[in-house]
Structure formats: C-alpha cells, structure tokens
Symmetry: C2
Subunit: 426 residues, 2 copies
C-alpha cells in the first residue's frame, strides 16, 4: 500500500463526464489499497475565460484581485471532483490552497511557495477521505489568496506530495511519459522508464513540455518522485527521480527541440570594454530572457553580437535595442525568426568525451548548418535553421543509439505538418 | 456625508458592461462624499450553471462541497467589480464572506448568520478603499464555507450594513421600489416612499417579491434602514424602516398577491380528536409548508379539511396524503391549482375596525368568490379563483383609497398576459 498524489490537468477535468472518469480512476487507486490525494487544475479553458472577463472590465487589473478571480477556477473543479467521488460511494473532501496549507510569498500572479502544512490533509486521509486539493493557489502571510503562475498546479502537487510524505506524485496529462525525443518528428523516439531530475530539468529547459520545470525543481530539492503518465490509459509512464540505475551507461538521455526562440544579431559593434555588459543589462532590465549569446572574434575592432531569446520577448528586445544600438555606436540589428534549438541532454555526458565532436560531425554529414552553440555539463545545444530542425533531431537520435525498434507510424508528421507545427510553436 | 452599503443582484452584474456601470455608480456615490461598501451576487445565471455542473457529476451532491462550489460565483463578481472600480481610478478591495467576517452556523446551503465582524471592512474604508463584499456566503466555526440560501445576498448586505453601522443599506434591483400593488396588474398602483418593517414583512410573505423576507427580518431586528431602488435609474425608491410618519393615517399600506400556491382539500374526514394533528404533522414531517388551513363545520361527524401550500411542495403533499388519508379513514383528496391569494397589508389595520367587512363587501360586489380566509393583526388574506385575482387586487386597491392619479399605461398587461404570468408564477 502506497501513499499517492494524483494530479489532473485542465484537459482531464474539462467536462462533467471527464470529472466522473477522474473520480473513477481515483476510486480504483483507493480500491487497490492505496491512500490517494488528488490535485486538480481549473476545467478546460476556465482560466482563459476569467482572464477575458477581467480584461473586459480593466485593461490592467490589480494583481491581488486577479489572483482572487483566477483561484475560483480550481475551486470549482475541486468541488465537482469531490462530489463525483462521493457519487461513487467514497468519502471526499475538497481543500482550497489555504486549507491545504500552501503558504506563499506575496508576489501575486506568480507566487513562490514558502511553506507547506499538510496536517489537515493528513487528518482527512486518516479519517478515510480522498482529499481533493485545488492546484495553482496558496495564501500569503496576510491571508490573501495568491496564485503560482501558469502550470502552478504541477508545483502544488509536488508540494503536497512532500507535505504528506507521499511515495510518488503522479502527474496525469495527455502524453504518456517523457520521450527520448518528440515522437511527432522523430518516429523512433522511445518512452523513458526513468529520468533523473537533472536530465528532466535540462529537457524541460530545452523545450520538452511534458512537466513544468518549476515542479521538477521543487521535486529535486525535496526528493519527491514524480510519475508522468497518461490520463487516458493505464500504461506506466516515466519516473523522474534522483538516481536512475539504467542511467549509468547511457551517455545521452534524450533530444529536445524548441522552435519558440528567435535569433537577434547586432552588427558592427565596436569591440570595447563594457559594450556587451551595456547591451545585456539593458535587455535584462526590459524583461528579455536571453538564452544563448555568441560573440564572433573582432575584425579591425568591429564585431557582431548574436543572442537568442523567446519569440514572446522579441518586441521588448527590439524596443531595447532601438535605444541601445545608437548609444554603443553599432551599425544595425538583424532578426532571424526561422531558427530552432536542438539539445542533447544526458547526465552521462559529463564523463564522456567526444559528444560535441560526434554531434557536430553527425549534423555536418546531414548538411545541417550550425548557427550557434551553447553547452552545460549535461547539455549541448545547437541553433539550426528551423526547416532543418526535425532532420537534426532524427539524425542525432539515431547517431546516439536512442532509436527504438518500434516506430510511431501513426503520429509521424509530414514535412508540411512539421513546418506548420514549428510556425505555430512560435 | 453618509456611510452606505450598496447591494447589486445578479442581473446588475450579468456582463462586463453592466459591472462597469455598477462601478461607475459606486464611484459617483463616493464622489458625492459618501463612504461606500458594495455587496454583490453572482453574475446572471452563474449559480444555475454551477448547480447544473454539480447535478451532472452527482445527483445528490454533499452540501459541504455544494457550498464551496456555489460560493465561487460571488467571488468572481466581487473581483471583477473591484477591478472595474480600480479602472476608474479609485481603490477597491474585494472580501469573501470569510474576510467580511460573516460567521454562520454549519447548516450548509441555508446557513444562518451567527455573528458579523466588520473590522477588516472598516479598516479598508478608513484607508480610502471601496470594499466589495461577496454576498450569499460565510464561514462556520470550523472555517468551512457556507452559503445562506437563495437570495442570501440581501441578507449579507443588511448584515454588513449593521456591522459597519451604515446609515442606509441600498438594495438595487430591476424594480424601483415597493408598490401598493403589482403595477402590472393594477395600473393605479403607486410607489411607496416608506414602509414599516412589519408591513414589508407581511407584503413579502404575501407574495411581493421585491425584498427577501429574511433580509427584512434581519433589518428589523437590528434596526437597519433599507432603501429599495432601481439599478437603472437615479430615482428614489422605497425606504423600509421602523417608524414611518405617514403611516399613522393609512389603514392599508398595500395589496399583495401570490399565485404560487395550490389548494388541497381532504374530503370526508371523520371529525374526531387528533385527526387534524395527524394530517399536519405528517405534512410538516415531509417538508410541506402549509399556509392557510380551513376546516368546515362537521355534518354527521364528517368534515372537509382544506389547506394551501406552495406549488413546489405539491408533490410531497400528494405523497404524504396518499399514506395518511387511509390511516384517518378520509374519503378522497382533491387539488385546485387555479387559486390565488390576495392580501391586504397595513399596520393601521390593528386599530381600524371594519377592514374585513369592507374587503368582503368589495369582493362580493365584484362577484368574486372567496374560497378561504386567513388573518393576522396587520394582514387579511383571501384565496380566490386565479382568473379573478387581478380584478380582486384592482377593486380592493380602489376601495381602500390606494389608487394613484398616475396610471401605468405602459406596463398594463392584457388579460392573456396576466393569465400567462400567473401560469408561470406557479
């Protein structure tokens, strides 16, 4: 018998019928002899609808009121799920963030959890209830409702799992685990049975969207085992945990790609002290998250500086550079929106020389031009032309022996579909 | 400068546009120099939608979860209204029932207020905020969310008005005050400037739907002045308060009618001790709210017993009588759904003899048959055929000198419209 937290996202509770299915699943876990705590997101598009209502009454709504408004979404789904469980003859009790003891700082709309007191949940478990916790929300020290930011429900689930000392935190979604690459563009991708926190974080940071990075960080810090699995099947998914036995031998865990970034180049920059500092502190000051930074060697005291940043930050980047470029006497700014970042991730990389060389050779043989490179001890990222991203993932996946025997025929996309997907990702 | 509570119902906050209008109105009150607290209901049909979702996951949802679910409706409107006020450049702060200090017993779905602690609201007022309170909800001593039952937002408004010592509790709705009769069927009805708590309670109990009876009872008990007025105009409405100067001379304040009741007759009842007690305790035990009870004189030891009850209770009444009638050896049950109750209400009635005689004569002259009669010190109710109800209201209104000079031409209904309205009322 295990103590399990089960987190269900907005898609899994989008309708009364789906809520009834989630209840059925939770009850089955209970019947198997486990103690179960559910964590839920708001139903389907509820959060977007509430954001729309807020925008209709105030273009710049106060964040305190916004949190109070948004937190109602999870309160609706928690109550409905508790009712659906009771309809199956089992006792359930819903908990708001406040009642679940999720205390945060007072940064409304993206609050950080500062403490978790799960006594009330533990008490309900002991009395035989299935506790149902509203994800995404907490309270600050003044007792005001806060929200954790988009995707915060995963973090709530991990925090509750830690609070009650759960054996595992199951995160249900529409994918059945973490894959060695996106199987929509890499038909030989295979589902990982296990992945370490570090690798998962690098995969998430490099564009693999299965789990919220923040939830994984929380899990790593407090050693909570996450099980990422499908809401629509009973198959085992991927366990995210500290030590993965099978990891010792693998050099590369997976290959992530990210088409949401753009590349910005400042041309004709005088190569003098403090110029780069000026550019990047101005960008940071305007909330532009620069990712990779490349500076070419100087020619006659003049150089080019390139960086990548999320497409969503591009307008702010342009705005900043319009001001900064004249100040540093640079020539011009050029922008390339058709780029993709492809990343090799693997804890084993640290102790294995030659990964970079092999990757560059593989890409070179496939005539894929590398625009920029960045590395961490367990990640190697290259920026390539967006049109070549899928091919880059496939050839690297094959070269590093990640291919599975099974092929995802059904989910394989055509070249046009890949292009459409990449355009949409931006 | 006055301290004012302004309560807006679901219709007044049904859309972002209407919420912006409510904000405008509150800000104008503030600009006039008043201190303002708003109390809001859920937007439009929200409560019904939530009830629908609950029914879709559980036919018999647990009341604790139901309260948590329903309370989100007012939390959405309170936040949106606070945002809309801020959009006009004024500071606003929303308060859940918990934060507004509304403590109730733990009778979920129809909780009674046991205490009100308005310190946080007073504090916000002192700091220049417009507090916006979620109506309809409170918390019990365990900290669990409770709801006050349908129409509970009026009660919240009166409770908050008492808690902060407000000069007046303004209740905004789609009618502009309390009328001497329903102007849709009585074109000479006139708006009352003032009405006493007692008269208002009798009017509400007799079918006048402007204010929730419970809110008026609360106001009477704690001497809170209510101002019932239109959400769509600036005209003064009706003040409900303890002593009304103008009342001294008027015998009758108004005439209410109610078409939502049905009349049930048990025929051939043996006239022996304890029979009536058996019938009415069985009905009460099955949650049938009997209103008027009439027992004819016995003939040969056999009598008929009639009573009226809300149409909504009819199925339960039938069910009960099916069981009880054989037990008491009565002959049969007959039901008349085409009845209406017409009530004369007035504190002055107590000290004025001959009101009943005048009313019976007036109805007799108009060929309106009286099916049953009941009285209180300040009310006289008669049950008549539903088809004659509008005519009964009109002739009584005229006979007791209530007619105004102005005639509600525009709102006057045709006989067909009245019939349709009465059928709908059921």
């Amino acid at each position: 018998m295990a103590l399990i937290v089960c987190k269900f996202g907005g898609t899994s509770v989008a309708s009364p019928e789906r809520i009834r299915n989630v209840a059925k699943r939770l009850v089955r876990r209970k019947q198997e002899g486990h103690q179960v705590v559910a964590v839920v997101s708001a139903m389907g598009k509820t959060t977007d609808e509430l954001l729309g209502l807020a925008a209709a009454v105030n273009q710049n709504p106060p964040t305190r009121e916004m949190d109070r408004l948004l937190s109602t979404g999870e309160q609706v789904s928690m109550s409905l799920l508790a009712m659906a469980i009771e309809a199956r003859g089992y006792q359930a009790m819903s908990f708001t963030g406040r009642q679940a003891g999720i205390v945060t700082d007072n940064t409304h709309n993206k609050a950080k959890i500062v403490s978790v007191d799960s006594e009330r949940i533990k008490d309900a478990l002991e009395r035989g209830y299935i506790p149902v916790v509203a994800g995404f929300q907490g309270i600050d020290e003044n007792g005001d409702i806060t929200t954790l930011g988009r995707g915060g429900s995963d973090t709530t689930a991990v925090a509750v799992a830690w609070g009650i000392g759960a054996d595992v935190c199951e995160i249900y979604s529409d994918v059945d685990g973490v894959y060695s690459a996106d199987q929509r563009i890499c038909p030989h991708a295979r589902k990982l049975d296990e992945i370490s926190y570090d690798d998962m974080l690098e995969m998430a940071g490099a564009g693999s969207g299965v789990l919220q990075m923040r939830a994984v960080e929380f899990a790593r810090k407090f050693n909570v085992v996450i099980h990422s699995r499908s809401a629509f099947s009973d198959a085992e998914g991927t366990y995210v945990k500290e030590e993965c036995d099978m990891m010792e031998e693998a050099v590369i865990t997976g290959i992530a790609h990210d088409t949401s970034e753009v590349k910005v180049t400042i041309r004709g920059v005088p190569d003098s002290t403090g110029v780069a500092a000026k550019v990047f502190s101005a960008l940071a000051g305007n909330m532009v998250n620069t990712d990779m930074i490349i500076q070419n060697t100087s020619e006659d005291g003049i150089t080019d500086i390139s960086f990548t940043c999320p497409g969503a930050d591009l307008e702010r980047a342009k705005e900043t550079l319009k001001r900064v470029v004249p100040e540093i006497n640079a020539r011009e700014v050029s922008i390339d929106e058709s780029v993709a970042k492809v990343s090799l991730v693997g804890t084993g990389m640290k102790s294995t020389p030659g990964v970079a060389a092999k990757a560059f050779n593989t890409l070179g043989e496939a005539d894929i031009n590398i625009v920029a490179i960045s590395t961490s001890p367990i990640r190697l990222s290259v920026v390539v032309d967006a049109a070549q991203a899928a091919e880059a993932v496939r050839v690297l996946h094959h070269a590093f022996d990640l291919d599975s025997d099974a092929v995802f025929e059904e989910t394989q996309l055509s070249a046009e579909e890949i292009a459409a997907k990449m355009a949409k990702g931006r």
